[in-house]
Amino acid sequence: MPDTGQDRPTLGDSLAARGISRRSLLKYAGYLAGLMALPPMASRAMAEALAGAGRQSVIWLSFQECTGCVESLTRSFSPTIEDMIFNLISLDYSETLMAASGTAAEEARLAAMEANKGKFILVVDGSVSTRDDGIYSTNAGKTNLAVLKETAAEAAAVISVGTCAAFGGIPAARPNPTGAVPVSEIVTDKPVVNISGCPPIPDAIAGTIAYFITFGKLPELDHLNRPRAFFGDSIHDRCYRRPYYDKGLFAKSFDDEGARNGWCLYEVGCKGPVTYNACATLKWNGGVSFPIQSGHGCLGCSEPGFWDQGGFYKPLSASVMGNNAVLGGAAAAGLVAGAASVAMARRRRAAAMAAASKPGETK
């Protein structure tokens, strides 16, 4: 095995030690290049870069969340190329996945922070409670708010995994009792990447981390700090049912002729046109399907405030928060204003006619 002269063994070394060949790395790099829309010829150089890199230390903090995001990343049927990410990282702290618990677990986090100061990636799933100093979500006697501030201070970059961490998600939905905020509102002095979705597509989580390990920097981001490679197109743009939308063929309910024919789900509330994610191309469960293919409209789960957008089954263009009281008031005001101007006109005419007639004579 070649001696790299580094303190930490390189990824190439640690993979070789586990009987994972460089072909796997090459295949993974090719897979990654395809995912992130990088030139295919880059995969060889990427494989070399990965082999020479150290295993990336990752600290994973879970706040106000449901563990769906961790499930998304760790779901797996057989050892596959998608799972390669777990060979590339050293997951030094994750309450869900680590064997240690209690004081030992907390010590592991502090030890990893100390050993990889300024170099580790901090992954957060779940939103951060801020009301009453964040006491509504605590762990090991510390609030999420305090642990996030303490850990993020030493991180190289922060990845908010899932819509809760990225945009507040369900905990931040009205009336937001815990004062939940996204990670990016607390961590403002570091790059924060948002991998939104409820849950996010596993390839998007793994691809972003692998990109950082390979290139030592974050991928190109959109205006909501999401990697463009995964969030560049709307579901609608890439939807296989798009031709039906263009032809004006819509399912009117979930069990009508249109639904059976696989027509567009716009009228039953699909939020595909305003939702940016890769579900329509990468799909779910090993590429088996995605919600629209299974007959349900997109909920828009990777967009900010998706929970409070006026109803999952309301068509996008009908989502006007109409206010009948305001309209009724406006109608009443219009009638009163009209009646007032009529009365004024009649009074003015009466006065004019009175002036034109002889004094004392009225019409």
């Binding site: 070789a16 072909r23 290049a33 395809g34 190329i81 296989y240 293919q293």
Partner: protein, 135 residues
């Protein structure tokens, strides 16, 4: 999924331009040794397009199946130097698919590091066998 009507059946004519690109890359490989690769998954090919591309490129003398973090299929097309490489991921769905214009795809070669590691392992295994035999 049965409802792919309208997106799956039609030929888009993209294969014609793709074949031109392959021809240019293959000429470059023949004249200067420059290698190239085309990511098929990044192109909006319909299933019909894909079948047409496979038919026009044909099959050559070499085909290999690799067991590398899931299955990988590599075959040389009827045009020497044009290889079709298909990586399969979870549930055997296509995780990556490229046309490699190269004398030999990288993934078929043994990497120097793997060779070095194998040499060490073989020497150690022989040593262990000798010790066992001696004991």
């Amino acid at each position: 999924m049965a409802h792919d009507a309208g997106t799956g059946a039609a030929l888009t004519g993209m294969v014609d331009s793709l074949m031109q690109e392959v021809a240019r890359a293959l000429t470059a490989l023949a004249e200067t040794g420059t290698r190239a690769a085309i990511d098929l998954r990044s192109l909006p090919l319909t299933p019909a397009d894909r079948d047409q591309l496979a038919a026009r490129l044909g099959r050559g003398e070499v085909a290999a199946t690799l067991d590398v973090g899931g299955r990988t299929e590599v075959w040389e097309t009827a045009y020497a130097g044009v290889w079709w490489q298909r990586h399969l991921g979870a549930g055997d769905h296509v995780a990556g698919e490229t046309l490699e214009i190269t004398p030999l795809p990288d993934i078929l070669q043994s990497h120097a590091d793997d060779i070095a590691a194998a040499a060490l392992r073989l020497a150690r295994d022989l040593h262990d066998t000798k010790e066992t035999a001696d004991a």
